[in-house]
């Protein structure tokens, strides 16, 4: 079927500290404020007045925030962010899993954002080279994890095939009891034999 969508219109998060949020995204990172809505309530009677404001993250894509007047933070947990907190029973890898990654073109651009963050109250916490990407990470004033990332090389056609086989194997294995990486790799080997031997890269992508 047609693939008609055109990227991220906006992704939205609540904030209790709009001033720090604007400092981080507009003044430190240099993401322009591109839109805001001043709203007197919304639908239900008990909905507070709020400001919905947007920053451009490139390509016309946007990150947006809600600030609600007269609405105090919903939790005082230490682990988590403005939206949610996690108790001691939730492992750290899970707490750290959700994040927003913003793309940059090359090393110079990645290092420029590293410089901007390191000169601010929100310095880079990690700089990591994965298989084919390099990323920097920090947390914004609301506790949301933000990544800036660049590709070290283009994704190859065989990696698209590999992703398809992985996901088909994952959907099968995850529907069965006790899914595991070993079961996935065993099923994936069968799919490689069935489908990869005759695979040829598309002439143009």
């Amino acid at each position: 079927m047609d693939h008609r969508v055109q990227g991220v219109d906006h992704v939205a998060f609540p904030t209790f500290d709009p001033a720090a949020t604007v400092r981080f995204y507009r003044d430190v990172l240099g993401f322009p404020v591109v839109h805001s809505i001043c709203a007197a309530g919304w639908g239900p009677e008990d909905h507070p007045d709020f400001i919905h404001f947007f920053f451009d993250i490139g390509n016309g894509d946007r990150i947006a925030f809600f600030y609600y007047f007269g609405f105090a933070p919903v939790h005082d947990g230490e682990r988590g962010d403005a939206y949610a907190s996690f108790g001691p029973d939730v492992p750290e890898f899970f707490v750290r899993s959700r994040h927003l990654a913003v793309h940059v073109d090359d090393e110079a651009d990645l290092l420029e954002y590293r410089r901007r963050l390191d000169a601010s109250a929100w310095p880079v916490e990690m700089q990591i080279q994965h298989e084919t990407i390099e990323s920097i990470y920090t947390h914004d004033p609301n506790g949301y994890m933000v990544e800036l990332t660049r590709a070290l090389r283009p994704v190859t056609p065989q990696e698209d095939l590999d992703a398809e086989l992985t996901i088909d194997a994952l959907c099968e294995v995850a529907a069965e009891p006790d899914p595991s990486l070993e079961k996935l790799l065993t099923r994936k080997a069968e799919l490689i034999v069935e489908r990869a031997a005759t695979w040829e890269p598309a002439v143009s992508r």
Partner: protein, 82 residues
């Protein structure tokens, strides 16, 4: 026919090279994958010999045929018959 599959991408070249140098292992191409066959034995790949960085190393395995991973840590990948 205990075997593993490794995708043909630049990051995996070291794994394939080490396997090709091991007389106990047969390496053949299946589409865009390398199939590394241990016959009746087991597959042992020394990570340092591959030159793989850690993130690459831990995601190099694409498939298991009649095989079970007995070790996959910073030192080695060892795959045995299931």
């Amino acid at each position: 026919m205990t075997a593993i599959f490794v995708l043909d991408v630049p990051e995996n070249e070291g794994v394939v090279r080490v396997a090709e140098q091991d007389a106990q292992l047969q390496v053949e191409k299946v589409g865009p994958y390398f199939r590394i066959d241990a016959g009746g034995g087991e597959i042992v790949i020394d990570r340092r010999a591959t030159g793989c960085r850690h993130a690459v190393w831990y995601s190099a395995l694409a498939g298991l045929q009649d095989a079970r991973v007995a070790q996959h840590d910073k030192d080695a990948l060892r795959v045995v018959r299931r």
